[in-house]
């Protein structure tokens, strides 16, 4: 999603105003729910500088991947999502798909190493789902892929930002 970074600037100022609201409204509430239910913060949602998120399951064996609210907003109406063929072994930073709006095309990169074992087929039929709930990992949500985490993948998580750091990061952009 390096490309997204480039498309963000024109809307950054507008988004800065609304981002605090959206960021607080649900990504963080979910984050809080997780930290309450689990003793370790390792399962908490993490973000990349390229605007992907990953959230691990309680057993840390799998995780959901998607693009951030901020990125979805910056891209504008998503009209096409390219999903990976599964299973697919990936290293952190490998491209696993792409998201296209009228404005731009951006790669989606895997935040961590592992094996992509499932994709959100809904996005093929209804790409706009990604605008409605880019950080929603339910069956009706806009998540992109599910990854089986490798040992290296666990380490990759350390290099990612938590919700608060990511929020700060997007505000700087």
């Amino acid at each position: 999603m390096a490309s997204i970074v480039r498309s963000l600037r024109p809307v950054a100022s507008r988004f800065a105003a609304s981002s605090s609201r959206t960021a607080r409204s649900w990504p963080i509430s979910q984050f809080q729910a997780r930290t309450f239910s689990a003793s370790s913060a390792a399962q908490a949602k993490k973000y990349t500088k390229d605007h992907e998120w990953i959230e691990l399951s309680e057993d840390k064996k799998t995780g959901y991947i998607g693009i951030s609210e901020y990125a979805a907003h910056a891209l504008g109406d998503v009209v096409y999502v390219e999903l990976p063929t599964i299973p697919m072994e990936v290293a952190a930073g490998d491209s696993i798909g792409a998201v296209e709006s009228v404005k731009s095309a951006s790669d989606i990169n895997s935040p961590i190493s592992g094996t992509i074992v499932a994709v959100n087929d809904l996005l093929e039929e209804r790409p706009g789902t990604i605008n409605k709930g880019p950080e929603d990992e339910s069956s009706a949500g806009g998540w992109v892929a599910k990854v089986e985490v490798s040992d290296a993948g666990i380490k990759d998580l350390d290099g990612l930002m938590d919700a608060a750091a990511y929020k700060e990061f997007t505000e700087e952009e």
Binding site: V5, R6, R9, R14, K49, G93
Partner: protein, 472 residues
Amino acid sequence: MKCLRAVSYVNGALTVNRTAGRASRQLSTALPRGTIASSSSLSPPRTQNPTQQLHRLPSKLCIPIRHASSTSCPSDLQKTPLYDLHLAHGGKMVPFGGFHMPVQYSSLSVSASHHFTRSHASLFDVSHMVQHRFSGPGSNAFLERITPASIAGLETHRSGLSTLLWPVTGGIVDDTIITRLGLESFYVVTNAACREKDLKYFEEQLAEFKNGGGEKVEWKILEGWGLVALQGPLSEDILSSVLVEPKETELRELYFGQSKFIKVKLLSGEASSPLLVSRGGYTGEDGFEISIPPTEAVAVTEALLQSATKERLQLAGLGARDSLRLEAGMCLYGHDLDDTTTPVESALSWVIGKDRRTSGGFHGSEVILRQLTSKSKGGSGVERRRIGLIVEGAPAREGADIVDEKGEKIGSITSGCPSPTLGKNIAMGYIKDGFHKAGTNLHVVVRGKKRKAQVTKMPFVPSKYWKGAAPA
């Protein structure tokens, strides 16, 4: 370091190096268009999975804005007379053709703005474009030398698209709109992104023309003038309501390709100076382009916006302008046209005046006129042609290869986006002669995968120019 943007103008396309992009965070030049060189060498793919190849292949990054050629610091960028007005309306400013220009406004997304233009009306600031006046006894002959236009056949207050041509090769220096204002007087508009090249070209061409015994030509650039494009089905109503002399028939009888000087009622109650209003535009919709002296640019724009109200007229930026012009099948210089491409190759043979096809006498005419006739009929024909494509699945962006059934490269895409109006992916590109017929099936390679595509006539969305009432 802010000035060291990761975007540079290379061969007419914005090229962004992704690796550099990751390293330097401030590169978010909002200009979302460019070719991303992927950081393949750093992490070679470990499987042959086609999707994985994404990582190796240059991944296209479409940015709606093109013409953009700016590598300069933001402080070097110029402002149009409407700069403050853009900020006041929530314009997201980006560097473009040497200017701070709005890519979109906070009130509408790019696609919403696109739809609004086709259903209501939009106002575009195009003051970054270069407005010229050519006059004097040599002006007719001069323009006939540097363009293939039938200047002799151009009536007063009529405009036409044309191309500035390089001597000998007939390659396109820039595309331009030429309007005749009088017997020996013309109004000419050229692209902002070509400004430096064009000005040098005009200087050199004027000197050569003079040295060759040409009569006097005066050339003036309208520096700091405003140019706004009012586009969309409500344009005529909106402009009519601010005319100082609102004769009902006045605009009805101004047809596509015609122009006239019109005074506009300003909010202060005063009348503007006579403004050159030309019916036409860059969206395929009915509309007007209005050339405004520097001191009145803001007042005229405010008069249009406020009298129309935001229910009927919205400001629109470069984002919507790009998808609208693509649906209308119009070229963007630096992408769909360049110095090495002739009008025949670019499917612009229609800009060559009828009288010029026999008389010739314009730059590159020996090459261009032979191209008009196919090889089988004794001409030279062309090797490649500009065509329109509808692409299935993923949108094809600039730089994507066009391949035949066997996977052999037969062309490449020069512009492409998902069409908001059609809900299909539209694209323009150049293809080997012979594959250019409408209905031809081929493939376009996007992220390493072949996508079905079909050659399609342009415009993709029918144009709605006002050419008078349809015959009963």
